[in-house]
């Protein structure tokens, strides 16, 4: 983990995705420290006095690319008191403090990679997907990405661009409620109703015993997917979970 630093940031942009899901584009006063795709940051709402202690904060995956350290992007859904405060208090032009980078949820597997993303959990994978290039070897990538509605597949454009650029990336979309977009009708194997599940992706995985599995999303999804993988005899060390309290 690179040296963690505390940075004051201007809130440059807030994207309201609907259903209390937001993306913040933050511009630190100085370039952010080096970080790796999949790492996370702490965000504080209360003022931080560098001569004292760090205030209450919450963790969020860094959704932006490590190649651009002038701006940092995070996506969050309102789930509790802190994120409710974020929704009500953070305004464009305002200031927040972050400290970063943290975390080991870094995709560094040399072999096949399977990604399970639920809701805003996709933000742990966006930087990785944006940097993904066609593999030199016979390597495959499988992504299952689900959200409550098709409209909440907020990083669909990033995934689409990656899939177009990297034929070895196999994507399956999951939509819990509401209609699958009409443009995708006729492509039922790729757009599935319901939650992200191992069963739905299993046939897409070419070498399950030689793959590394990365899971990011709500706690119930993390538990369900991990349990299913273990039941399918996936080695515990091949299962990587982006879990926070």
């Amino acid at each position: 983990m690179a040296v963690a630093q505390k940075l004051q940031c201007a809130v440059e942009r807030i994207v309201d995705h609907g259903e209390h899901v937001y993306t913040l584009v933050l511009r630190p006063d100085r370039p952010a420290p080096r970080f790796r795709a999949g790492q996370f940051l702490h965000l504080a709402l209360d003022p931080y006095d560098p001569t004292g202690f760090w205030p209450e904060s919450r963790v969020f995956s860094i959704a932006s690319s490590p190649d651009d350290r002038s701006a940092v992007r995070v996506t969050y859904a309102v789930h509790g008191q802190f994120t409710a405060r974020m929704e009500s208090e953070i305004r464009e032009g305002g200031r927040v403090w972050i400290k970063m980078p943290y975390g080991d949820f870094v995709i560094d597997s040399p072999g096949d990679v399977v990604l399970f993303a639920g809701g805003t959990g996709i933000s742990a994978f966006t930087a990785y997907l944006e940097a993904l290039s066609p593999p030199a070897s016979d390597r495959s990538y499988v992504l299952g990405y689900g959200a409550r509605t098709a409209e909440l597949l907020i990083y669909k454009d990033v995934v689409d661009r990656s899939a177009a650029r990297v034929p070895a990336l196999d994507v399956t979309w999951f939509v819990e409620t509401g209609a699958i977009p009409s443009s995708r009708i006729g492509d039922p194997t790729r757009w599935l109703p319901g939650r992200v599940s191992v069963a739905a992706l299993w046939t897409q995985i070419r070498r399950p015993r030689e793959s590394d599995f990365y899971i990011s999303g709500p706690p119930a999804m993390l538990a369900a997917v991990a349990a299913d993988l273990r039941a399918r005899q996936v080695a515990p060390e091949a299962i990587h979970i982006d879990a926070w309290e």
Binding site: V3, K6, R34, H42, G52, F53, W54, V59, W244, E245
Partner: protein, 442 residues
């Protein structure tokens, strides 16, 4: 501004005035003032940083430590810099980190061999022994005082697992050869860079070649915090292990005063501990507490701004002395850089040649009598010291030059506190000695 902020500004303004009153620049008085071999070089900025930090009264590592680690790792172009309380601690942390079970089969185990030299400072060697590893000594070259790479290759045996060596007095050892050896034999490489901050090899800073590098910020060194040092690496896994050994051996990497930066403080499973046991108190190593205070780091932040200037002055002073002492090369072996290197000289090493007509003791006594500080090349031959006789070790190819260093080598300063007047005084003393003057014994 708050009342506290206003008062802080006033205090810092007074500190600047104090510096001017307490530490005025005085002309050098030859024969009276010491021409030190090394020393702290500072101005009002260091004092202001120190007082500013003390007014925070955070005491343990905080904003200045974070800033130093960030700026220093950027300076080196590495991912991580971990402040510790000395260069010796940096060596201890670096070597011990390689014994971590987290490294699996690559970890160093008791009885594994580590290549090093005996002509150096004890705390390059001590961590090897403290971790029940076996040092394998090779001889050094006279002139640059670094290990002969051919000897290193000869010394590699089936149990050799690492190379731990210093860039002696700022002179980079042969990093081409050592790097190749490390790669070929899958050896860990630790660069003890305590005396070489700012030195370059093929234009790349030393301390950045190995798996781990170490730095010292003792007052004699290129920058200072009083006491202080640093472990540097570009391997985030090693950095985390090193942080653990520095911070009591705990698994948690939170800085002092912080909690739950991992977001999983109460939801992990470690060993046979209850699930969710407080991560802050989970210990994955038998560690130490080797951290710095924020006051030390504050001084370091001010010093770091001056580092490039300091390096330039060390090089200029070295060049001046080299030119001044060239006439005596028939009697004195003068220092030289290794190929492809640009040292950030720690000192100016001199070996009195066989048949010079005088001894090192006579020359050193004369210089000291003329208020010119000298130092041995640290321990000379470590194996001849009481602490290290009887240690398990191997010697490959003999240590003849190391013994020569012990008997005939010393160094004088090139540090930035030496101005032209002091250098001229040093040159004058050498000239008088070489003309036969011997008066003024201690």
């Amino acid at each position: 501004m708050s009342a506290a902020s206003v008062l802080r500004e006033q205090i810092l303004s007074l500190v600047r005035q104090y510096h001017e009153a307490q530490f005025p620049v005085r002309p050098f008085a030859p024969g009276h003032d010491l021409a030190h071999y090394a020393g702290r070089v500072f101005d009002a900025e260091e004092l202001c940083h120190l007082v500013d930090s003390s007014l925070d009264f955070f005491l343990t590592a905080n904003r200045y430590a974070e800033r130093f680690e960030a700026e220093f790792s950027d300076y080196l172009g590495l991912s991580d810099a971990l402040l510790v309380n000395s260069g010796s601690s940096a060596n201890l942390v670096a070597v011990t980190s390689l014994t971590s079970p987290k490294l699996g089969e690559r970890r160093l185990k008791p009885g594994d061999e580590v290549l090093t030299v005996a002509a150096g400072f004890p705390t390059t060697l001590a961590p090897i022994l403290q971790n029940s590893l076996v040092p394998v000594f090779v001889d050094v070259n006279l002139g640059d005082y670094t290990a002969d790479p051919n000897r290193l290759a000869d010394a590699i045996g089936p149990k050799t697992r690492a190379i731990v060596m210093a860039h002696t007095l700022g002179v980079p050892f042969d990093l081409d050869a050592v790097g190749e050896l490390a790669k070929k034999h899958d050896l860990w490489l630790i660069e003890d860079n305590c005396d070489a901050l700012g030195s370059r090899y093929r234009d790349r800073l030393t301390g950045t070649f190995g798996h781990l590098g170490t730095m010292s910020f003792y007052p004699a060194h290129h920058i200072t915090m009083g006491e202080g040092g640093c472990v540097v690496t570009n391997d985030e896994r090693l950095a985390r292990i090193a942080r653990s050994f520095r911070d009591w051996g705990r698994d948690c990497y939170c800085a002092g005063g912080e909690s739950n930066t991992c977001g999983t403080r109460f939801s992990q499973q470690f060993g046979t501990l209850p699930h969710g046991f407080d991560h802050k108190y989970v210990y994955s190593h038998v560690g130490y507490n080797l951290k710095v205070t924020d006051m030390q780091a504050a001084i370091g932040c001010a010093q770091l701004q001056k580092l490039d200037t300091f390096i330039a002055r060390r090089r200029a002073n070295f060049d001046w002395l080299l030119n001044a002492l060239r006439p005596y090369e028939d009697r004195l072996l003068l220092p030289r850089a290794t190929p492809h290197s640009a040292p950030s000289w720690f000192g100016f090493a001199i070996t009195v040649r066989d048949g010079a007509g005088f001894t090192r003791a006579e020359l050193v006594r004369f210089l000291e009598a003329n208020r010119i500080e000298t130092r041995s090349l640290f321990a000379g031959n470590l194996l001849r010291h009481p602490a290290f006789t009887g240690i398990p070790h191997r010697v490959v190819g003999g240590l003849a030059n190391t013994d020569t260093v012990m008997h005939q080598t010393f160094f004088v300063g090139v540090y930035p506190g030496l101005d032209r007047a002091r250098l001229e005084h040093m040159a004058s003393a050498f000239a008088r000695f070489m003309r036969g003057e011997r008066a003024g014994g201690l």
